[in-house]
């Protein structure tokens, strides 16, 4: 199927293609920038092609100009198509592909903020990532901007687009059951939500710039693990796989199995954490305490296997640092059988409560058509009827050697997203048992590694929240020239606009939490009554239970 698409492209756009490069199952097609929009439209007519992200690279030290890569991948086959185009420094404009692919909205705004390119035809070119008081015309990701620049502050107000005849509910950055600071504005008419605006990126720490300037290639797995404290091992595995693909080395088999075991343990702990937080937002604190009680033995097991409860630090380019010994294997099997038993009982207790079922069914619905249009990923996509799991579509680590099911439900409401995650926990327990059974003997790391310059590597993994992507271009002397990270929540948040429209206000907190935004980021709410100019502050829990005034 994908090969046919490439033949169509070669036929229809032969005059504009500059070069085609094939690296195993990844095809890089270089084109001129004027044919970008019709080319992407041709690719997107195929239902199995899914847009992932766009990357901007400052190539002025190498061959002049700036280059933009648009990355597409197939949902059914193990193939990816990457379209790239360049523009000289004198004309920093590129046609935008948002009119044909709505999912590219945030990726192009990010390139505009960090590199200074302009995308003609973009419907909403506001600032996205940099802080509100960052002065204009300083672009951090360009090669002549140092990584530790601290320009003086120039405060500006963020331009929210507020619709008329509605009340504004700011859900501002700090929350009692805290996670990250994020800022949502809900616009309500009476009790019904009409629209939502989002101002995030309070957690922007300059990770990509640090990886490109001061860290060596073997120090980056440690910073990659701290991109997210809950699914960090997925990020460091994805980075190591991208480098290993770029330089063309093979990881020993035992190392691949150990990576898969730790990845599945991380998935179990992340889903149990989310179930606890969702119960708390529904007002069911007993469920929160039980879910985290069941999760604790997993953290202690990881401390025995790797030395730390979280941020394991077990990955290096070429393999893993420590081995799993006999004692670790026995303890793992013990903990898994205990957790399986407790978890099944807990789910029966949870589903026996009528209010949980009533509040989650038929709320926050995302249809299959909207899910494909907004390019969402992970359990949100699988709960809306599309079967796409990176572990099956593009197998990595040791997933080709085990057999497991991928749960898919078609209702698209909050209950479907809960049941997808419950099924995934039970599947993960079986996967770990099969991996331990088949664990081969051998070395755990490839020693002598050389990094030649100017090679490209692309890798995708299935984090607990969805599809994760790392893209690297190697540089000279063991440094990395460009490193791009696309986390799964980045693709899921724009879909909240559709899920929250028409939703009653008490269902807003659990709907925002159901996409699992690396923690639920809603918090205390200020309710402003426009007519009487009264303001009161209400904890989110009370809104969730329906008591506002």
């Amino acid at each position: 199927m994908v090969k046919e698409i490439i033949e169509n492209i070669k036929g229809a756009f032969a005059d504009y293609i500059i070069g085609i490069e094939v690296n195993k199952n990844k095809v890089y097609i270089e084109v001129e920038k004027k044919c970008l929009r019709p080319l992407v439209k041709l690719i997107k007519t195929n239902k199995q092609i899914h847009y992932v992200t766009s990357v901007g690279v400052d190539e002025r030290p190498l061959r002049g100009g700036f280059r933009v890569y648009h990355i597409f991948t197939s949902i059914e086959e193990d193939y990816s198509i990457i379209i790239h185009t360049s523009t000289p420094q004198s004309h920093l404009t590129i046609p935008s592909i948002v009119p044909v692919t709505p999912g590219a909205n945030w990726a192009e705004r990010e390139i505009q903020d960090l590199l200074g390119l302009k995308f003609t035809g973009h419907p909403d070119p506001r600032k996205l990532i940099l802080p509100d008081d960052w002065p204009p015309n300083i672009y951090p990701l360009r090669k002549d901007t140092p990584y530790n620049i601290r320009p003086p502050s120039k405060p500006t107000l963020y331009p929210f687009k507020r619709p008329r005849e509605t009340s504004t509910l700011p859900i501002g950055p700090y929350h009692p059951l805290l996670h990250e600071p994020e800022y949502f504005e809900l616009y309500v008419k009476g009790e019904e939500v009409v629209d939502v605006e989002y101002r995030g990126f309070h957690v922007h720490r300059g990770i990509e710039k640090l990886g490109e300037s001061k860290l060596t290639y073997n120090q980056i797995p440690f910073i990659a693990e701290r991109i997210c404290g809950i699914c960090g091992f997925t990020h460091s595995t994805c980075y190591c796989q991208a480098v290993e693909e770029a330089i063309g080395i093979d990881v020993p088999e035992r190392a691949r199995y150990i990576r898969s075991i730790l990845l599945e343990l991380e998935r179990i702990h992340s889903h149990l954490l989310w179930i606890g937080v969702a119960c708390h937002l529904l007002g069911f604190d007993t469920g929160f305490m039980h879910a985290w009680r069941i999760r604790e033995p997993v953290m202690q097991l990881c401390e025995i296997l790797t030395g730390n409860r979280k941020t394991y630090g077990a990955n290096l380019v070429g393999g893993v640092r420590w081995d799993i010994k006999e004692k670790g294997v026995k303890k793992t099997l013990n903990v898994l059988s205990k957790i399986e038993d407790e978890f099944k009982r807990f789910i029966e207790d949870l589903m026996s409560i009528r209010e949980v079922k009533l509040r989650l069914t038929n709320t926050g619905v995302l249809t299959k058509k909207d899910a494909l249009k907004m390019e969402v990923v992970g359990p949100v996509l699988r709960a809306s009827g599309v079967k796409y799991d990176v572990r099956k579509a593009h197998p990595y680590a040791a997933y080709k050697e085990v057999s497991f099911n991928v749960p898919v439900y078609s209702e698209g409401d909050n209950m479907a997203r809960l049941i997808v995650r419950i099924d995934e926990v039970l599947e993960s327990i079986n996967i770990i048992r099969e991996l331990i059974d088949k664990l081969p003997k051998g070395p755990i790391i490839t020693e002598e590694i050389e990094i030649p310059g100017n090679r490209k590597g692309l890798s995708m993994t299935e984090a607990p929240r969805g599809e994760n992507l790392h893209f690297i271009i190697t540089g000279r002397d063991g440094f990395i020239y460009r490193w791009k990270v696309r986390a799964p929540t980045y693709a899921n948040i724009p879909a909240l606009k559709i899920m929250l429209k028409g939703c009653p206000l008490s269902d807003a907190p659990i709907t925002i939490a159901s996409i699992d935004p690396c923690f639920s980021c809603t918090d205390r709410v200020k309710v402003i009554d426009i007519k009487t100019k009264k303001t009161i502050t209400v904890p989110l829990m009370r809104i969730s239970r329906g008591k506002i005034w």
């Binding site: 120090q219 440690f222 009680r293 401390e303 807990f346 207790d349």
Partner: protein, 169 residues
């Protein structure tokens, strides 16, 4: 209504799982990565740990007036990854099992090792530590020992002089 009473029987079955932590000490597994400590007797000041430390928690500075090299670990920025311990050629850094590291002042979170430095025979500037020099002397033949007491800048100048002298001859 009756179904939700299952929660009471679950609570009875599970019992109490709380650990008595502040009143009794807690055990950690032997693989646990706690506070790293440098053994002052073994460290030679080579700087491999500083090159590998990701958050730059290990700093090395040369005090040219006193003639000492200071190796400092700042526990406030350490991420307890253990790379310094993997890479040290003398096995001078080890990770212990301590995790109760809270402190009221920032100065208490440092460990400082001061090592004596050797002065160059020609220009008098300190350029390496005594222990590092002793270690190199063991693996180099006797005839070249004189050369090792000269700092790299002066050594460049003297070899350039000898080369140009032999060329003129």
């Amino acid at each position: 209504m009756v179904k939700r009473l299952r929660l009471i029987s679950t609570a009875k079955r599970v019992g109490v799982v709380t650990r008595p932590y502040p009143f009794r000490p807690t055990e950690v597994p032997e693989e646990f990565r706690g506070k790293p400590i440098i053994d002052g007797e073994k460290c030679t000041g080579c700087g491999s740990c500083r090159n590998v430390c990701t958050p730059n928690a290990i700093e090395i500075e040369d005090d040219l007036e006193k003639g000492v090299r200071r190796v400092k670990i700042f526990y406030g920025r350490c991420i307890f990854c253990g790379r310094c311990s993997d890479i040290c050629p003398e096995e001078a850094i080890k990770l212990t099992k301590e995790f109760e590291l809270a402190s009221k002042t920032r100065e208490d979170l440092y460990q400082v090792i001061e090592l004596k430095m050797v002065k160059c025979k020609i220009c008098g500037k300190p350029f390496t530590t005594e222990r590092s020099l002793k270690k190199t002397l063991k693996s180099v033949p006797e005839e070249l020992h004189e050369q090792l007491y000269i700092c790299p800048d002066c050594r460049e100048k003297s070899t350039a002089y000898i080369e140009s002298y032999t060329k003129r001859r």
